[in-house]
Amino acid sequence: MADIIATDLCVHYPLTDAPSNSVRSTPPPENRVEVGNKSYILALRNLNFHIKKGQRVGLIGRNGSGKSTLLRVLGGIYAPTGGMLQTKGKISSLFNLNLGIQPDISGLENIVIRGLVKGWSRKQIREKMPEIIDFSELENVIDLPIRTYSDGMRMRLLFAIATSFSPEILLLDEWIGAGDTNFQTKAAKRMNSLVERAGITVIASHNRNLLRKVCDLGMWLDAGRMRAFGPIDQVYERMDGG
């Protein structure tokens, strides 16, 4: 049974002077604060919410509004820098199609590695293997290195792995862009079955049609603040100034 409770949840990034090769989208200037001689970006500001079992939440908002940051806090990548977060349930996340895989080894070996990372034994992974390959529709290329896969193929494989180890909380960031309609339908069905088993899904996306299809709740983030959290259609109405 999954549950997520955020109490005054804050995340602020330090703006370091150290050269960094990462390119971040420019945040709105009001997000920036100076404490002493250090600057921070307030990526999340005092979020309070409770996501209960069986809920499917779509995170909406402009680039740099905090959607990805919130997903990463929920996924345990970032620690909150203020307030607190409580999660219950096994978490599986899919943030980026290029992270956390070894491009030079085969799809098959990557399944093993990701399974081990999720704490599965080699025996359990072997048992799940046919199902993952079948779901991702990659039977013919599963022995090839991942670098030869298209974005869509990569996404199918990662999604299949992320959902196969029966997570209770599933976190997805902009994952759907690379999938074709056929796979999107399949993926939506799988997410629904997960939610029916008292799980939670949280998805960040700019694709309204998709979110309306797979989510019942929407959370609107704007410059790190939560502007609205409720039934997704109503949240979109609010967002559009209705």
């Binding site: 549950d3 409770i5 804050c10 990034y13 330090p14 370091t16 150290a18 050269p19 960094s20 990462s22 990463r72 806090v73 996924g75 345990g76 990548i77 970032y78 620690a79 909150p80 820098t81 203020g82 307030g83 607190m84 977060l85 409580q86 999660t87 219950k88 978490i91 996340s93 943030f95 980026n96 290029n98 992270l99 956390g100 070894q102 030079d104 080894i105 070996e109 093993v112 590695i113 081990l116 990372v117 704490g119 080699r122």
Partner: protein, 282 residues
């Protein structure tokens, strides 16, 4: 808070304020990392083998390049130094250079241990110590492969070795543990201050000549008084001395042991302090 009845099975993510020493988090990270040995062994092996994956000779290149290097070194330096003919110097050079290669590779890569794993760190909530063990293992595979050359060279040179093999192996085991601490310390510091990475590489370069690998301590007169304090000397000595001179190099062990305790404490404290912040520095 977390243990108040109904909330017992919640995972609590408490806020990390900026100035705080989180010993519990650090200890948990390190023990969980150890428990996930299957993951770091698998990851390190795939990383190691995929480096040579699409080449004909594959992993044998590790052996070949080391063998070529050793051969040229012996050729040049033994004729240069006009040493004795019973192969003692050549053996000295092979054993010393074997450990030096390991040290150089391991220490130079240490500052990048977390920054190189940034893709993983930003996508999976794994213990950070796992990435350290992964690097330690990958370097160990290299060491194990190059040891083939050392064995062949010693058989070929035919120098009688003292039977200190167990002490030497103990030295290797220590070096692996030591590598963990160096990576922990340099990894954390360098994630914040990127200069460390360049600095360490710059220091390791001349270090090869400041360390008794090609020359012997007896050959440089008074200078050894200062060069004795070079830790690289003793990292090599705990492996080389038991085989060449026999016995247990006590002074070297005391020196590297003390250094180990200092580095481990500093590394652990900085890890406890910054573990939760590292991900924000990428």
């Amino acid at each position: 808070m977390a243990d108040s009845g109904a909330q017992e099975d919640y995972n609590l993510h408490e806020a990390v304020t900026v100035y705080e020493l989180r010993l519990g988090t650090a200890i948990r990270d390190i023990t969980e990392g150890l428990a996930m040995w299957r993951v770091w062994i698998a990851l390190s092996w795939h990383e190691f083998s995929s480096t040579y994956r699409r080449s004909l000779l594959g992993i044998m290149w590790v052996v070949l390049s080391f063998a070529g290097f050793v051969f040229v070194k012996i050729l040049i330096f033994s004729s240069l130094l006009q040493t004795d003919s019973n192969g003692y110097y050549d053996t000295y050079l092979v054993l010393g250079f074997f450990i030096w290669m390991y040290l150089q590779q391991s220490i130079s890569a240490s500052p990048d241990v977390f920054t190189a794993a940034k893709g993983w760190i930003r996508s999976e909530p794994l213990p950070f110590s796992l990435y350290i063990w992964k690097s330690v293992m990958r370097e160990f595979y290299n060491l194990a492969l190059t040891s083939i050359v050392v064995v062949i060279a010693i058989l070929y040179l035919g120098t009688p070795l003292k039977n200190g093999l167990l002490y030497s192996l103990l030295g290797i085991a220590f070096l692996l543990l030591n590598a963990f601490s160096i990576k922990l310390l340099l990894g954390v510091v360098s994630a914040r201050v990127r200069d460390i990475s360049h600095m360490v590489k710059a220091i390791m370069m001349p270090m090869m000549f400041l360390t008794p690998i090609f020359w012997m301590p007896s050959q440089i007169g008074d200078l050894i008084k200062y060069l004795w304090w070079n830790p690289m000397y003793h990292y090599i000595e705990i492996f080389r001395a038991p085989l060449l001179e026999g016995g247990f190099p006590t002074a070297s062990w005391i020196y590297v042991g003390t250094l180990y305790l200092i580095m481990t404490s500093l590394g652990f404290l900085s890890f406890a302090r910054f573990r939760q912040r590292i991900v924000f520095w990428f």
